[in-house]
Symmetry: C2
Subunit: 235 residues, 2 copies
Amino acid sequence: MNASRYADGYARPSLAADIALFTVINGELHLLLIERGESPFKGHWALPGGFVQEYEPIADCARRELGEETGFKAALLEQFGIFDQKGRDPRGWYISVAFMAMTSEKDATIKAGTDAADTRWFPVSHLPDRLAFDHSEIIERALEELGERAGRFDQAIMDPLFAMLPEHFTLSQLQEAFDAIHAGRSKEDKQESDKRNFRKRVLALPGLQAIPGATQRGKHRPAQLYKYNTDRSSG
Amino acid sequence: MNASRYADGYARPSLAADIALFTVINGELHLLLIERGESPFKGHWALPGGFVQEYEPIADCARRELGEETGFKAALLEQFGIFDQKGRDPRGWYISVAFMAMTSEKDATIKAGTDAADTRWFPVSHLPDRLAFDHSEIIERALEELGERAGRFDQAIMDPLFAMLPEHFTLSQLQEAFDAIHAGRSKEDKQESDKRNFRKRVLALPGLQAIPGATQRGKHRPAQLYKYNTDRSSG
DNA sequence: TCAAAAGTGTTAGAGGTACACCCATGA
DNA sequence: TCATGGGTGTACCTCTAACACTTTTGA
């Protein structure tokens, strides 16, 4: 199609970064999608993303596009695949490098970007039916990756996980967020992790500290509040 | 430089696949390099690789280029990184997707490709000083990846590892090959894995079978010969 | 007094790691 | 008989997973 061909005989693909941005809302894992305002796939939901600029490292591109299109800054940005199947984009030879990212709901000043008609968080258990391009496939891979990393308390997961919670939080809140990520499924059929084992593991993390005397009250026994120091050197 | 710019305002990078192809020779890990016959970096050693063709999946490109340039078919081909730092290629905006692969020495019908002046196996402990482009960096990453996968008996490592050995082999030969890969260092300072533990793990693999009555003699106690069935369904 | 969530230890099994001696052969 | 590599088993430690009851509060 409109791929370039040069004197040297080599064609060049269009190269984009697409980002699966996750957060936890009400104990359920959510994914950010934008509604495309332009062809192709106008009116379909798609992952945020965009084309790489000349000489721009692709990871920088992902971070930039995420900011431009949605206003979010990612607390984690990990490349997990290259999507290059022929026919994935009707415009021609378009290759996409996929990233996953997490953010805190409270940073959520969603803005409609230039080519987005709407931007919205979807629970991953109820994503729209028809997504643009091969984005269903990308999302599936992203969920696998996320669940796998969560299972091993990957640093790249834990940091943004803490960032998603209030500054002071209870261990139950932390576990709820973790379970949402780990299962990547609906609230209903998610498999809960063992409370005692979870606490054992998480309390062994450097940076997690109880706040003496601080508790959160409710119609039950008060819960100890904790905070997390991203700055590992202070631990 | 000569990157393309279109009516849509987006530039397109040149996209290549580079392959770090490994084998074990005399118990030492070797890497295949080609001497560049053309500018840039004429006369420097480089990883085999080449540009992706229109609509060609990048993994197919890697396999194709490896065959064209060196005559090898890879028994493993795993993508492990994208190299896109500005300035990595003096010709302009060139991005490279890096793969690692392993092959059996006995498939080694090295041929000089069109743009290669020479092709040669180098022990990874004695690579040439000045490599083309950012290939030193790519190789470093490839070695890390290789060692990590070997450490967990990754299927993608074990299959080609067996392919590198004669059809019938002793467990010592297998361990020697494994150690070479795992350490990725010179024969001298490599850390040997424990013989008994190695045998325990490796004998637990499906597909590895002792050949009754077959032994390899030498100036020592005869060694039991084994074979490996890649076809897992027969196990 | 009841409902709701907080908090708390122990045990069994699996897997990994460390470790040393005898065996069969050829020279 | 010696040098060479082949072959073998056990013990400890760590990590993981399974599992149930008491406590404190608000309604």
